[in-house]
């Protein structure tokens, strides 16, 4: 089983656009993307439910040397080993297609074969939500995205997933191997306690570079401009209904 563990801007940080208007200020606190925490948690819970059927849980991240922190967190939460595809600090963050290609290369390198890849549905700093779907497409595997419930039937090698869709939930049955992306309501991740963090230091972390995997991570998109949303203008108070109607007419809103 392979959960992804992306490093994103921490959820509590107030995002600021950088002065050049080319992106956001990244000199802030980062932590594991919350949806990826849910992915790691689900992998650990699947092992708790299925016991020895889950042979190993490997966490993967693609990023700068600082990303090792997210791998340590994943190991502390219960992953057995980790893989770090290291890219230089100065390089731009990889795009979803590049990430998907890298994950595919890693999966194909695994001799024992991977049955389930679990990713967060999107990263909270870029909100792209593309990697899981692209990976499934590249591998030609089925995908169960926005999962809010996962049930594995080992004997039949099938997984029943409830997906969050507009207006409710959709239940689908998929054959293994499978790509799952997690939604918020799948589980509540555990906090990595100090004893587990200490134990995690002994767990193996394999390092690769993009060249080792034969993947090109150069961005194909160029960000032209990033701006903050326009500041909210305050509302005005009116004295009577007639005044309200007059103001609405001024604003160009006509009666239906």
């Amino acid at each position: 089983m392979r959960p992804s563990a992306a490093r994103a801007v921490d959820f509590a940080v107030k995002i600021r656009v950088n002065p050049q208007q080319t992106g956001i200020d990244t000199n802030v606190k980062h932590s594991m993307n919350p949806f990826d925490e849910i992915a790691v948690e689900e992998a650990v819970r699947l092992r708790e439910r299925l016991k020895t059927e889950v042979k190993s849980i490997q966490a993967v991240t693609i990023g700068s040397p600082k990303s090792i922190d997210t791998l340590r967190t994943a190991l502390a939460m219960g992953a057995d080993s980790a893989i770090h595809v290291e890219i230089p600090e100065s390089d731009p963050a990889p795009e979803p297609l590049a990430v998907a290609k890298t994950l595919k290369a890693i999966i194909e390198k695994q001799k024992e074969g991977i049955d389930i890849v679990i990713l967060g549905k999107q990263a909270i700093d870029d909100d792209l939500g593309l990697t899981g779907q692209m990976l499934a497409g590249l591998l030609n595997w089925p995908q169960a995205t926005f999962a809010s419930k996962v049930e594995v039937d080992v004997a039949k090698r099938e997984v029943v997933v409830v997906r969050e869709i507009d207006g409710g939930g959709e239940e689908i049955r998929c054959k293994l191997p499978l790509v799952i992306t997690t939604d918020l309501r799948l589980n509540v991740p555990r906090y990595a306690t100090l004893p587990n963090i200490m134990k995690a230091k002994k767990k193996p972390v394999t390092k690769y570079s993009a060249a080792d995997l034969g993947v090109d991570l150069t961005p194909q998109l160029e960000t032209l401009k990033v701006t903050e949303p326009p500041t909210r203008v305050g509302g005005g108070k009116v004295e009577s209904v007639d005044e309200l109607v007059a103001k609405l007419k001024e604003a160009g809103i006509t009666a239906v």
């Binding site: 959820f11 509590a12 919350p34 909270i124 969050e164 869709i165 507009d166 207006g167 409710g168 939930g169 939604d183 918020l184 309501r185 509540v188 906090y191 306690t193 100090l194 004893p195």
Partner: protein, 93 residues
């Protein structure tokens, strides 16, 4: 100071609480200072019953703080990513 076993437990708990305190959302709360003062207040306990009580209090603080972090994160995420059956503008769904 009591037996070596409880001493080790107390130290481990202190380290855990210190680490937890680093993530406290309100910078003016001085989590570290409070933990330090609580520990110093209880440094000369000898009765095993009292020691157990103090350690249980420490564990309680740890659990409450974890719950605080968990809830805060969950509430934030729920607001930013409302589910399909709830109205994003309704704070109660």
């Amino acid at each position: 100071m009591a037996s070596n076993a409880t001493r080790l437990r107390a130290i481990a708990l202190y380290k855990e609480l210190s680490r937890l305190g680093r993530d406290y959302p309100d910078p003016s709360y001085d989590f570290q200072g409070r933990i330090r003062r609580l520990y110093e207040k209880n440094r000369n306990l000898t009765d095993p019953e009292d020691i157990e009580k103090a350690l249980r209090m420490g564990e309680y603080i740890k659990k409450e703080t974890l719950a605080l972090y968990s809830l805060r994160k969950y509430r934030h995420l729920k607001r930013m990513y409302p589910d399909s059956t709830s109205d994003p503008l309704d704070p109660h769904s």
